[in-house]
Symmetry: C2
Subunit: 461 residues, 2 copies
């Protein structure tokens, strides 16, 4: 990785406007590392450095910069330079940049492209957001079944320069319909005079341009590929998607899942670059829904106000009891939501999970119930904070803990199944959602058990 | 994908022991799809089918089966057949299977390997668990700088058959020290008579065999590679890691992070195949820690028992108030933990986040506080459940909501920074952990505000 110690030298080269030495110095490093180094330069230095760089080096570094920096540098470039940059960018990176601009800016940049690149950019932007079409690049090598291996190698030599991935070449008919894919390895190790047809097995995996980006992750994982061909609705080969882009999609998807599970709408941008009010809005929606649900706890408590009046000691354990239910529910929901997401368990497995959770929930409940009883007993040895009926209070609390931890585990594990069955996203059963549900119902359990255990002693009627 | 409608035909072929037709039928499909189809066959049918298949086809399908099925089939094979299978497997998949066996079984299988494969398998198993060494395969193409392009292509033609990835070839010196990597594309498009040296830029990215698996994800993402070379401590090239294996590591890492965030120790195996008591143990640890923390709520409540006695109405809103703090804390923690994990924000950004959260938390608090007051006011119009001082009660509750939502947002967002600063995993500040912390402190806030607002009316002294 690029040593930060080089920063002063880099700054000096920028100050002296020494583009040649700067370009040579940066050439020794990976574009990804140079992009990170850029982040430590002032905006003015970044702009100056960028004006000093040229051609492929400039484009390559640009593709690794973060979005805000890209926008800043674009605006600082002469229109002709910005146009050249856009022309040289790989089609998929360009789409990712263009799709975030507003209509007018996007059109302005599109106009600077060559006729060919403009047609490519427009056709990619034509696909829906979040679709595989937006991820793909039309830079692939397509060959015909009647070509010889020698002809293919010659073709690759001529046209392979711009291809995103040369691991695989695609065999198409005269109308660009995909017939097969061949690993370059198969071609390299084949005798040079045989035709491609003889290497084909007509067995390939492809994505549809209108597929969801997220669905591509699963296909890459399943078939262990580094690049996949993309077909349009007429089964024509229109591009390829490479796995490095899919790795980014997977990371983005994991972030969205985590956010849903944390009880908020998924942010579409990084935390730091999401406008404050967008973020508040995304958090407020769920927070208010959960709050409205949680208001039911006040209703339930109001219903038992008479009991609380008689035995205020009952109130002391309410936070303890409902949070234990919430925590066990959150654990169970986490396990099941994730296992459903990666396909480890399926909808039909719900009964098996239910049985497991009955056992786990009971054991965990007994564990917490015992600790709870011990705590109440110990405190009562040294004080009378829990009154003369401390043993009955301890009994009510620990029985409630057993019941509520079991209840939390069952709700937390079954809710994701129920949501999936209804065609909703199981991740909606977030930790806060499960906790809220268990809070309300948990209070009912606690008061019911208390009335039975303490009836006739602490609770008169 | 392989149509389930074919299952009856497949079953018939297995029953008739018609290996030739079965092999031809399956040859039309992807190994990943055949592996999924296997899951729908009975154990007996799977074993029978597997005995009917031979050579590379058997090995290829085997590599896509899940672990329990692999073990079952291995045990049903003749020792010689099992040995042949192990010999043919790619080295990384073989390591993954061997590392899960106990000492004796592993040794038994190692003995069946050819001398060469045995040495490879042992050297890979020699690297620590969770290290890059366990992911790598020694099947790569290495060339020398003085070779011509023609010589390299000839070498690839001869030795490329077993290579995992031919996207990249590696340039090494006489001692296998890595000097450079070259994309096969660069070689294919170069004039055939120049030497490799002329194509080199001595600028490459490599992993260390002892690096953590998880760290490889970041390197692949950063440099957009499909395969990376792996070096030993002497800087010698010992293998390559391909991105398909890293995609699996990333998925596993996301699962572990989700589990930590859900408040339990990460399971090392899928939910369904984790033994019940292992799972209970992993859940119990955190559940008990959280419970011990939550016991403090009973202490805090005991301290305010006198106030509760005077105004039992205060108890009614406790679940509402503490859960609102917990939910806003869980939202904030989710955002920050994830943003830190993917590197969107860094430790130094804590002040920026703090300022953002002060604003977001205040707005969200005011929102919930207003709804809370409205609810109490509305109920009081139609009943006297909240008594004559309902307006003051409403005031105390809504002020507490503002304070606690703000407090939850600050704790949830700052705790991950604090943990990271201390060298701990920020994901430890899980939703339940933040909720527990906010529960205890939130009660203090609620009672303090109530004493101020209700002092002299509901609360006499």
């Amino acid at each position: 990785m690029l040593c930060k110690l080089m920063l002063p030298e880099i700054r000096e080269l920028i100050e002296n406007r020494d583009g040649t030495t700067l370009s040579e110095a940066l050439d020794m490093w990976q574009p990804a590392d140079i992009a990170e180094l850029f982040a430590d330069l002032s905006d003015a230095d970044q702009k100056a450095a960028f004006r000093l760089l040229h051609g492929p080096q400039r484009t390559l570094i640009f593709e690794y910069l973060d979005r805000p920096t890209q926008h800043m540098l674009l605006e600082s470039l002469e229109p002709a330079d910005a146009g050249a940059l856009f022309n040289d960018m790989s089609a998929d990176d360009r789409t990712a940049l263009l799709e975030e601009l507003d209509e007018a800016d996007r059109e302005k940049h599109l106009q600077t492209l060559s006729a060919q690149q403009q047609a490519i950019a427009r056709s990619l932007l034509h696909y829906p957001e979040d679709s595989v079409g937006r991820l793909m690049t039309p830079d692939f090598v397509a060959v015909r079944p009647n070509w010889t291996v020698e002809h293919v190698l010659e073709h690759v030599r001529r046209h392979g320069q711009d291809s995103e991935s040369l691991n695989v070449v695609y065999v198409v008919d005269h109308d660009m319909h995909l017939i097969d894919d061949l690993r370059i390895r198969q071609i390299l190790i084949a005798p040079v005079h045989i035709t491609i047809e003889r290497l084909m097995d007509s067995n390939y995996v492809a994505l549809q341009a209108t597929d969801l980006k997220r669905s591509a992750i699963e296909v890459f994982r399943r078939y262990d590929r580094t690049a996949l061909p993309v077909l349009d609705e007429h089964h024509k080969l229109v591009g390829i998607v490479t796995i490095d882009d899919v790795l980014d999609v997977a990371e983005q998807a994991a972030t969205e899942d985590a956010q849903k599970f944390g009880g908020l709408e998924a942010l579409s941008e990084p935390y730091a670059s999401t406008p404050l009010f967008t973020m508040v809005h995304k958090r407020a929606t769920w927070l208010v829904i959960l709050f409205l649900g949680e208001l039911l706890t006040a209703t339930v408590m109001g219903y038992f106000e008479h009991q609380l009046d008689q035995a205020v000691v009952l109130a002391l354990f309410i936070p303890l009891i409902i949070s234990s239910g919430g925590n066990s529910g959150s654990q169970a929901a986490t396990l099941i939501v994730r296992a459903l997401a990666v396909g480890e368990i399926r909808l039909v497995d719900w009964m098996k999970v239910f049985r497991r959770e009955v056992i786990s929930g009971s054991i965990l409940g007994l564990l917490l119930g015992s600790i709870g009883f011990l705590r109440i007993a110990t405190w009562s040895l040294f004080s009378d904070v829990y009154g003369e009926h401390w043993a009955l209070v301890g009994m009510a609390v620990s029985l409630s803990l057993v019941a509520i931890v079991l209840w939390g585990s069952l709700i937390g594990s079954m809710l994701p199944f129920a949501l999936k069955r209804l065609g909703l996203d199981p991740a909606t059963s977030s930790a806060p959602f499960v906790a809220t549900f268990v809070d309300v119902t948990g209070l009912l359990i606690y008061f019911s058990i208390s009335i039975v255990v303490l009836g006739g002693t602490l609770l008169k009627n």
